[in-house]
Symmetry: C2
Subunit: 414 residues, 2 copies
């Protein structure tokens, strides 16, 4: 991809209201742009990373035997009245009327719709279990949108719903999804702790949250340094210096960003909405349900919060937007342009390349390259007259002069 | 993928209000399910096809040098007041207020937001041209939602916006996108005619629509049988029996489904919204814009409308949901189950496979297989005791008995 055409509007200054490092970097690196409070546009570079996160999510969900679908954002009040949440949900639920004055809401979550979609269809134990997920835009009218993608009013989530004939089957899947979530976050370069939580507005008996430790987190968490155990300090007596019973690890306390949550819903939706199946014993019973949320855009935010240095973002391996960043220092010099193009054509066979062919000053380009954080940078500058380029490792800053004929071998060895 | 887990709720009967064949088949084959008037859920099989259509769109847009981003669905009234459309747009625009009583709408189209996103950034001729597209859910409160995905109130569109320093550059890109659209529709198995159209609510000087000829189309079109020329009959004098001037082809008249539309917007949005750039001559000028819509879910509908027979859907090659459908006729027979699993494992190396492992009667499975229309079906039934399966070509119905060891070679030859 040529950078001159990609629209990566980098900025020298962060927005004045940006407190979190991720907020500053997401805006400065041209990954997102605010359109209204808590409402963002995902610009090409940011959206490219989001699509990589989505690919990881799909791979892990599909590996469990789950299928992807897409439910509507516009939901009828009728469905929410069936579950009782039309009355229960507060002003976070965005409500509107259509031209015929019928009530709708914009889905912050999709338990009602999915229950409506499967009822009458998943009507026999023979058709269970089933897992259905979507990656979709959600709406929640937050009182105080903050930290850019952390508390947004329009955001992207993956939500999975599972349907079972009995509790044992739900328990088994709950553990499988738990592990899949750990895989997803690890592949995104995030370390998470799993915290027992309050089911809250979603409902059900048991729920857990997946937390990324960060100073801009909103909850205080006690967590074990040796395993994935964590606990909200309001729900736990564990103190710093204690030892975690199962693994013998020691306890730390920190702030956590919630990037995922999983719930054993049981029959909370299937019972009032009459989603029943005929069991082996010939009796009609409500479906046993689980639901599992994962914040896609919030994961992007958490990744940037955890992976940066003074100069900008340092992307984790699996979600880097490009493999190689080829910077043509001065596009007015034919020799540099020709060499850059040749390197671009060759490296494209090895991975995804961004070619900085902009009519910009070279020093600006190098600062931008650090800011957007592609792992390997090849700078084509004055040394090209001696057949040399500079190859820089974004993570440790190490720069080597490499002969033009040896770039591919050098990059392979990184 | 195992069909027992995929949730493909096929139906014997079409909904009573379904008139169009595509509406009947989309619902009966378990591809979509209506949630409210004009609002659909895309079930796993339908969504799988949609993702294939999206892949084709992305490939053709990226080949033009365009970049993908994602703009918000929630748009502030302020932006729409800048363009003047807040007052102009009728009741099709879904309006709502947030908790602080500020006015918003749900985007039916994104000219205002994209102009907001690029202004102040695309501020020099050096940064032009740029093409930015998204694949996104749109909202339009249709008076009469109809034909399932044809006139929906929530639907998916690809919208591309291009920005130029002069009219010549816009003209050049307009032709490139025109060709890309033809590629996209052809790859989806659709034949289209291109019709000069009225810019209407989007605005601009010149606009064209891409039409799929169909008896459920909403516009009457004169079109040439030899080239892609077409014209709305209200705008043209061409009659059946006439000859098309440029290519000598003859004229037919038919109904058309609009699957794409392209507009030379000029400065209709950039001027009132003050999105300007500094040109070579040092003067500030409004950006010259183009916009290009393509109905993703409507394309799915048009494909099904054009590609079916009495028994069900017949998928075009590039957007078929699976390559092979392996039907285990009776899952209570161990011999059939074992052979089906073996064939499934082998054919997975050659393409995407759906394995019908459901506890259903064999004849029901074969009817469902015809309905969902995967191109090649391998039926594992009684003949397996002699080492034989039936391989059926969905398109022409031709069935051959094939030895189990020769299935892969046979399928490769199809």
């Amino acid at each position: 991809m040529r950078q001159s055409m990609m629209f990566i509007p980098t900025l020298k200054e962060a927005p004045k209201d940006a407190e979190a490092m991720s907020h500053k970097l997401l805006v400065r690196a041209g990954l997102v742009k605010q359109v209204a409070a808590g409402i963002y546009s995902y610009l090409p570079l940011g959206y490219k990373v989001i699509k990589k996160i989505e690919t990881i999510i799909r791979e892990e969900m599909d590996a469990l035997g789950c299928s992807e679908l897409l439910l509507p954002a516009l939901q009828t009040a009728d469905l929410w009245k069936e579950s009782g949440r039309w009355a229960d949900y507060g002003p976070e639920l965005m409500r509107l009327q259509d031209r015929k004055k019928r009530d709708f809401c914009l889905g912050p979550t999709h338990e009602e719709v999915i229950t409506f979609v499967v009822r009458d269809q998943l009507n026999s134990y023979k058709k269970l279990p089933v897992g259905l997920y979507q990656i979709q835009t959600k709406f929640r009218d937050e009182m105080r949108p903050r930290f850019a993608l952390m508390r947004g009013r329009e955001f992207s989530m993956k939500d999975l719903y599972t349907f079972h004939a009995n509790e044992e089957c739900l328990d088994e899947w709950y553990k499988l999804v738990w592990q899949a979530y750990k895989n997803i976050f690890n592949r995104c370069g995030l370390e998470v702790k799993v915290v027992f939580s309050d089911p809250g507005q979603i409902g059900g008996d048991v729920a857990h949250e997946f937390m990324v430790m960060s100073e801009v987190g909103e909850d205080t968490i006690s967590y074990c340094n040796s395993c994935d155990y964590g606990s909200n300090t309001e729900l736990s007596n564990l103190q710093v210096g204690d030892v975690c019973p199962d693994c013998g690890g020691s306890i730390s306390i920190a702030k956590g960003i919630e990037v995922g949550n999983i719930f054993k819903l049981g029959t909370k939706y299937s019972k009032p909405m009459k989603a029943t199946f005929t069991d082996k014993d010939g009796k009609d019973k409500p479906l046993i349900m689980g639901c599992y949320g994962l914040g896609v855009t919030r994961t992007l935010m958490a990744v940037v919060e955890q992976n940066n240095n003074n100069e900008g973002i340092v992307w984790p391996e699996e979600i880097k937007p490009f493999d190689y960043h080829i910077v043509c220092f001065d596009v007015k010099k034919d020799e540099q342009v020709e060499a850059s193009m040749e390197i671009y054509q060759n490296l494209r066979k090895m991975g995804e390349c961004l070619l900085d062919d902009r009519l910009e000053r070279g020093v600006v380009k190098l600062k931008d390259a650090d800011l957007i954080g592609i792992p390997v940078r090849i700078t084509v500058g004055r040394d090209i007259s001696e057949g040399l380029v500079e190859v820089t490792n974004r993570k440790n800053g190490k720069t080597d002069k490499v002969k033009i004929g040896e770039i591919e071998a050098y990059c392979s060895s990184l």
